[in-house]
Symmetry: C3
């Protein structure tokens, strides 16, 4: 594809030679002849001068010695360009003969079901969705249109996925929540998990992530959420629209995460809490109590991020602080001795 065509399709202003042929995409350091690249991070500005890329997507105020596409959001534009220059190959519609499809399942037009997948009774899969090999859709599962379920995804009975949902390999949607009632002898008895999971439109769920079904009612991941790998989402949790959960996050049962929030890697959220809209928890934060909208928290237990940064800086000098206190005690003692103690006759 030539650069001018790409500019047209992306709706970008073109600067320089539009006849350049674009054959690949790459980061600004790795890009070679024929590659389109982008500049979104100020840190990489010096690389513009030396890039071997054929063209670069830049912000409006940025100059470059190679042909440019101009965008207010170069990274987003580059993401769209990658999809054009290196389009993924969608499996052809059709059902692999080795897949086990229950006769009561309803598959929409142009659905693909891969080898050895299992589609249970009453399952419905919407138009153009792709069910990769060895996916299991248990009884009564509903999958919307244009979804992609990668190999080995498990969706348990009666859970529902919206449209354009992507689930990476091995993720488990709708396993039993972790609910047990303890008796007087300290034994645990299973609380039947009779609820479901609802995953709304445009959600992506990472590889080997577990989203548990509710004990009663539903666990819900709202539209546009992006969930990374190995994340644990407990029963009856709700996650608001366009929220991001990074790798290995864990959210205990019945907690509610607001819209547009971000939980960074390995963050843990205790049960029955509310994390407000737009809140941010930095990596490894442990959240034992609710967090207000827009707050940025860190640490374990979570506190305001700036406080945490300052306290962490002091933490690294604690032995010194302790030594200074000991020295103060010694000097004060010595001074007091010298002056005589109150009540002593001098």
């Amino acid at each position: 594809m030539i650069l001018r065509e790409l500019a047209d399709r992306l709706g970008c202003q073109l600067r320089g030679d539009g006849s350049v042929e674009i054959t690949g995409v790459a980061g600004i350091e790795e890009a070679g002849p024929g590659d389109l690249t982008f500049l979104a991070n100020r840190r990489y500005v010096p690389l513009l001068a030396t890039t071997k890329a054929a063209a670069v997507i830049v912000g409006p105020k940025r100059e470059a010695p190679v042909p440019c596409l101009v965008s207010d959001n170069p990274y987003l534009t580059f993401a769209r360009a990658v999809a054009m220059v290196r389009p993924g190959r969608r499996p052809a519609p059709g059902i692999d003969p080795s897949a086990r499809i229950d006769p009561t399942a309803e598959l929409g037009p142009d659905v693909h079901v891969g080898a050895l997948a299992v589609v249970g009774p009453g399952v419905r899969v919407g138009a153009r969705s792709v069910v990769h090999p060895q996916v299991v859709l248990s009884e009564g599962v509903e999958v919307g249109e244009d979804c992609v379920l990668h190999s080995a995804v498990q969706v348990r009975e009666h859970c529902r996925l919206g449209d354009r949902v992507i689930v990476q390999n091995g993720a488990v949607i709708g396993a039993d929540g972790f609910g047990f009632a303890r008796d007087d002898d300290g034994r645990y008895h299973k609380f039947p998990q009779v609820g479901i999971v609802v995953i709304e439109d445009d959600v992506e769920i990472g590889a080997l992530t577990a989203v548990d079904r509710a004990a009663l009612g539903e666990t819900r991941i709202a539209r546009g959420c992006k969930v990374d790998n190995l994340v644990q989402i407990g029963h009856s949790v709700t996650v608001g629209e366009h929220t991001v959960l990074a790798g290995q996050v864990g959210i205990a049962g019945s907690s509610h995460v607001g819209k547009g929030a971000t939980l960074a890697g390995q963050v843990g959220v205790a049960g029955h809490l509310t994390i407000g809209d737009g809140a941010i928890a930095t990596a490894q934060t442990g959240i034992p109590s609710s967090v207000g909208a827009g707050e940025v928290v860190s640490g374990y237990p979570a506190i305001d991020n700036r406080t945490w940064l300052r306290s962490s800086a002091v933490f690294a000098r604690l032995p010194d602080l302790q030594r200074r206190v000991r020295e103060l005690e010694r000097r004060l003692e010595s001074l007091t001795d010298r002056l005589g103690r109150p009540g002593e006759e001098e």
Copy 2:
């Protein structure tokens, strides 16, 4: 089912109209007409006055404006009620024709094996156990009676599961432990993992949890343990009876966790330790050394929970504490200057 019948089957005292028809179960806030609910947490007492539930399970001293079932353990009684009002559908006995059953495997009466499951040579599965689609039971695996192995569970060679064991989707029982011997060049050589995993009766293992086989001997999860999702249990670990491991807990090799202990979410336990009976580790605790019976620990490295809470409160004020020490130094210096230093002529 009418409330009186439920009272009889649960062995509960009935207060109020026993002819009320119970058609569902729900939490006290969500409950509507026909629903049975429960009150176990004092926090929700005010909701009793306004609940739309048809009936509620309460403790002996609690009054309610709707018909009640009286129980000393309302949550446990409710768990049992849910199983009566919304009984799960057990798959019918029988072997799906697409399952691959080795001719030397022995399946007990009324076993169910789902689509595309693999049952290897010499495997034994006890009466009434359910093996869902795409489970793999490798050579020589033993599964007791009344077990449920959800889809995509993997049980490796010669591991043994007791009776009434439930394993959620995608869990891996008996993968090789992480054992390597390092040579003088810094290269690692695999230590063959020739032991097994034994999971005793009434254990539940969560989705995508890994329980590694022992290097030599066995890894053992004792009866009644409940293990949540995405938990890592290293080789040769033992976990005592009725212990709870919450989501994303990790236990390194050869550690021993006692009976009736609780490790909350994302807790990590180093290798070769002993965690005593009834010990509790709060969420994200990192345990580098053994913990005594009945201790409650928190933090990283783990310390006594109350100490940790107090220290954490001071942590958030560390910059202030540092400032106060600096101020003390300044004032003491100034006072000393004013008084003249010892040894100086005045």
Copy 3:
């Protein structure tokens, strides 16, 4: 096998009766008649006197009352001995008739493919490799010689594994990286993940571990690395030779871990960092910025390990430190009062 034969095959000096029959292997405490054991840890020296083992592998300076094999690295020698005394049973070469092998796939000599495995178009599997049941190798995957892919492993399109690679059950190699571009409305748009994963020779990957494909280019795990269970390796990460990643470690996108490094359990590494050769991070360390070669770091945020140990010791006494500062303030105030404040007329 008699001990003398084992000594010959292991290239060890034999002390004592070489005609002893070795029928098993066990730890020094568990070993019984016929068992070979080893002593590598000084802590267990007292057990030498009472061990019931038939023979023991010891260092050159160690004496024992039973026949010995002498080795400079007893643990490594024992690992090799275990492989001789209890050799694993390699599945016989051949393709299970239920496996789905694309006609364009190329399987080398003596490959084993288990039940219900899926081998996609253009896949190549090298000589003697074992593909266990329900493994999925997507289009264009390359697997080297003498590899073992345990059941339910997923390898996504075009990823490449070297020789002698072992992948434990349920691991996912090459799922999409977690890359999204945010628009002005706070919505996330998928950045197509068009790169691959390359896993070099002699790597072992643990159960339920996810290694994401690169957005562009490749994610690479260099030769000899050992990766434990439930580890998350983000897109475009590189891990150097002979590095160890313990259970539940998470490495965010585009970070580079050097050679011979060790990240202990539950360590988290933020994105775009460099961890130097031979660096060590102790369990649960959270790494927000690059770490130099050979450094040992701990804590969250990560600091020098010795500093962290000292600061952690003070942390547990913070309430006491705070009380001492308060007491100092009180005493200094009182002393100042007694002396009169500067500027006051006395």
